[in-house]
C-alpha cells in the first residue's frame, strides 16, 4: 500500500501541477477587447455600494466636457509624427515629434483660460492621444486610449478643450502605446501662469532621455538660458522619463516653489539638499543667477556658467518643508479608505508567465476598481513591497500627502499627482473626489504600466463607451 502510494503520489502531484498551471494560464488570457469597467473587482473603500444595478452607469464620460458654448482663449494645433528627429543640439534619433520637434511646443495659458488643442496624427502608425499630465481636465479630455477616447488613427484628428483652472507646471504626452511613444518624445510642456504676473521670469528645464542620451530642453547634456546677475528665475523642472531624477543647484541657494504644479506654502532657502523629482513629476525651483540647475547627468545654466557642485548627500524631505496651510477639507474623516499595495509575484498576465507586479495581491486585469461618489473625501494608503520603485500617478486629481512610513507631514501642504514610492515605503494620501469620470491610477514608469501596474478610480454613475483593444486602443 505504502509503495503504491509512493508511486501514485508523485503522479497525482504532477497531474495537479499541470492542471493548475493550465487553469491559471487560461484564466489570465485577455479578450480581444474589453471595457475597463469590467476589469477586476469593485473596491468600495468602506463607502456605500452603488445604488442598485438599474441606471448605475447613467452618464457617459463623453458628456464630461468643458462648456461647449465658451470660445477658446488659447488655440493650438499639434501634429504628431513618427520620424527620425533632430535634437536641438543637432543629434539625430528615431522617435516621435510634435510640430516637427521633440519636446513639442510649450503651451502657455493664463489661469482660467480655455485651452483648445487639436491633435493631428500625420504619421504615427499605432495611433496617438494626448494626456494632460497633472491637469484636472474634464474626463472626456483626459486622453487615455480605450478609456476616455479612441486612439487617433493616421490621418485623423481630435480636439481637446479644457479650462486651465490651476496655475502651475504640467505636461502633455501620448497615452496610446505610451511606454514607446513617451520614451520616443511624443510630449511637451504646458505652463499655466497665474492671473497676476509672476514676480520672476520663468524658464523650463524639461529632462528627457533620447536614444540613451540625457537631454534638457532637447539639448544633450546642457542648455543655457540668459539671466542678469542677481536676477531671480523660476526654473520649471519636468521629469518626462520613466525613472526619478534628483535636482540641485550650483552657485546659488534655491527655494522649492512648487511640486507637481501646486505652490508650496512658505518655502525656505535650501543649500545642501537635492529635490527628488519622480517620473512624470515637476518641481519649480527659484534660483538666483548665475546658477546651474543640476539634473543628475544634465544641467541648465541660468546666466553665466558656474562650477558644478557635487550631488548633496541628503534629499529635501517635503514632509517638513515650508509652513502649514489649510487643506480645504478634513482628511481625518474620509468617506472611503483604499489600499493600493504594490507587490510582485509569479503568475500569468494575458497568458504570459513571469514575475508580475501585483495590486493588493492581484495580477492585471483582476485588480481593484476604486469606486467613489462625487464629493467623497478619499484616503488612500499606497504601499510598495515589490523591490522596485514606482512613481504612482493618479489622473484628474491632486492628492495631499499625509504621511510616509507613519511620519506625518508637518510642513506645507504637499499636493501631488505623481508620488515616488520606493520599495518598503508606505504613503498615506487624501483627496476630494471632485472630478467625475473614470481615471487611471498607475505607475508612471511606463513599462511597468504596460506590464499591468494599472488600476482605475471610477465615479459611480459614470460609464465609458470605449474599449481597450478596440480601434487599436492600447493605452500603455
Amino acid at each position: 500500500m505504502t509503495r503504491r502510494l509512493r508511486t501514485l503520489l508523485p503522479l497525482a502531484l504532477a497531474v495537479a501541477l499541470v492542471l493548475g498551471l493550465g487553469w491559471m494560464w487560461q484564466q489570465s488570457r485577455l479578450p480581444g477587447s474589453y471595457s475597463v469597467m469590467d476589469m477586476g473587482y469593485d473596491d468600495l473603500g468602506g463607502g456605500p455600494s452603488m445604488a442598485g444595478m438599474a441606471g448605475m452607469h447613467d452618464v457617459s464620460l463623453t458628456s464630461l466636457v468643458a462648456d461647449p458654448q465658451r470660445s477658446a482663449d488659447v488655440t493650438v494645433t499639434l501634429t504628431a509624427r513618427k520620424e527620425r528627429l533632430r535634437l536641438a543640439s543637432g543629434e539625430q534619433v528615431d522617435g516621435y515629434t510634435v510640430n516637427g520637434s521633440s519636446p513639442g511646443p510649450t503651451i502657455r495659458a493664463v489661469e482660467g483660460q480655455l485651452v483648445q488643442v487639436t491633435l493631428v496624427n500625420a504619421s504615427v502608425p499605432d495611433g496617438v492621444t494626448l494626456h494632460w499630465h497633472g491637469v484636472e481636465v474634464p474626463n472626456a479630455e483626459d486622453g487615455v486610449a480605450g478609456v476616455t477616447q479612441d486612439a487617433v488613427a493616421r490621418g485623423g484628428s481630435y480636439t481637446y478643450r479644457f479650462v486651465a483652472n490651476h496655475a502651475g507646471t504640467f505636461w502633455y504626452h501620448s497615452h496610446q502605446v505610451s511606454h514607446a511613444q513617451v520614451r520616443g518624445g511624443l510630449l511637451g510642456a504646458l505652463v499655466v501662469t497665474p492671473r497676476a504676473p509672476l514676480p520672476t521670469r520663468d524658464v523650463l528645464a524639461l529632462s528627457h532621455v533620447y536614444g540613451g542620451q540625457l537631454t534638457v530642453n532637447g539639448h544633450v547634456g546642457s542648455d543655457t538660458v540668459p539671466a542678469r546677475p542677481g536676477e531671480h528665475v523660476r526654473v520649471r523642472v519636468l521629469n518626462t522619463d520613466n525613472g526619478s531624477l534628483r535636482a540641485w543647484v550650483s552657485g546659488s541657494p534655491y527655494r522649492l516653489l512648487a511640486m507637481d504644479g501646486y505652490d508650496l506654502h512658505g518655502p525656505t532657502e535650501v543649500t545642501d539638499r537635492s529635490v527628488l523629482v519622480t517620473a512624470g513629476g515637476r518641481a519649480d525651483l527659484e534660483v538666483v543667477a548665475p546658477a546651474r540647475v543640476e539634473l543628475g547627468g544634465s544641467h541648465l545654466v541660468v546666466g553665466a556658467d558656474v562650477p558644478a557642485l557635487p550631488q548633496p548627500a541628503r534629499t529635501l524631505d517635503l514632509l517638513g518643508y515650508g509652513t502649514p496651510a489649510p487643506l480645504g477639507f478634513d482628511p481625518d474623516h474620509p468617506d472611503r479608505r483604499f489600499r493600493y499595495s504594490v507587490g510582485r509575484r509569479p503568475g500569468f498576465v494575458d497568458g504570459k508567465p513571469g514575475m508580475w507586479w501585483s495590486i493588493n495581491g492581484h495580477l492585471f486585469p483582476d485588480v481593484p476598481m476604486f469606486v467613489v461618489a462625487e464629493g467623497d473625501v478619499v484616503r488612500m494608503t499606497i504601499s510598495n513591497h515589490s523591490r522596485a520603485t514606482h512613481p504612482m500617478h493618479l489622473h484628474g486629481h491632486h492628492a495631499v500627502v499625509l504621511s510616509r512610513n507613519g511620519t506625518r507631514a508637518t510642513g506645507s501642504p504637499w499636493w501631488a499627482d505623481s508620488i515616488d514610492v520606493a520599495s518598503g515605503q508606505t504613503y498615506e494620501i487624501a483627496f476630494v473626489a471632485d472630478n467625475p469620470g473614470i481615471w487611471m491610477d498607475h505607475c508612471h514608469n511606463l513599462p511597468h504600466a504596460a506590464q499591468g501596474l494599472v488600476a482605475h478610480l471610477m465615479y459611480e454613475g459614470v460609464r465609458t463607451p470605449f474599449r481597450v483593444g478596440h480601434e487599436g486602443n492600447d493605452p500603455e
Partner: protein, 150 residues
C-alpha cells in the same frame, strides 16, 4: 521520463553558467563605460536604452532568471515527479532543485532592496549548479545500472 529528467537537470546547470557569464559581461561593460567618462543615472536605467558593450548581459540575466529558468524548473519538477517510478529519488531531487530556483528568484529580486542578500544569491547559484550536476550523475548512474532492453 528518466532521460528528460536528466536532460532538464543538465539544462539547469548550463543555465547557471550562462547567468554567471551574462552578469559578469554586463558588469565589466558597465565599469568600462563609466571609466570612459559616462554617467549612469536612474533615468538612463529606466529608459532601457543604454548602449555599451555587454549591456545585453543584464537583459539576458533578467529574462533567463525570471522567466526561462523558472519555466524549465517547473517542467523539470513535473518530469521528475513522473520519472520517480523509474528512478527513485527523482521527485525528491526535482522538488529540491525547484525550491532552490524559487529561492534564487526571490533572492535575485530582493537583493535590489536588501543588498546584503546579493552574496547569498551567488552562493545559491553555485548550489543549484551542484545539485543539478548531482542529479544528472545519479540519473546517468541509474541508467548504467539498469538492465539493457533486448
Amino acid at each position: 521520463m528518466r532521460k528528460a529528467h536528466q536532460v532538464l537537470a543538465g539544462l539547469l546547470a548550463a543555465e547557471v553558467v550562462i547567468q554567471a557569464m551574462a552578469i559578469a559581461y554586463a558588469l565589466a561593460g558597465l565599469g568600462h563605460w563609466i571609466d570612459d567618462g559616462h554617467t549612469l543615472t536612474k533615468q538612463l536605467i529606466d529608459d532601457e536604452d543604454l548602449h555599451f558593450q555587454g549591456v545585453g548581459g543584464f537583459a539576458i540575466h533578467g529574462m533567463n532568471g525570471m522567466m526561462i529558468i523558472p519555466l524549465i524548473a517547473i517542467v523539470f519538477l513535473i518530469v521528475s515527479l513522473l520519472a520517480n517510478k523509474q528512478l527513485p529519488g527523482a521527485a525528491q531531487r526535482g522538488g529540491i532543485l525547484f525550491g532552490m530556483v524559487a529561492l534564487q528568484v526571490f533572492l535575485g529580486l530582493t537583493l535590489h532592496d536588501v543588498v546584503v542578500l546579493a552574496p547569498l544569491h551567488a552562493l545559491n547559484g553555485f548550489g543549484i549548479f551542484a545539485m543539478a550536476i548531482v542529479t544528472v550523475r545519479k540519473a546517468a548512474a541509474a541508467e548504467a545500472a539498469a538492465p539493457v532492453a533486448v
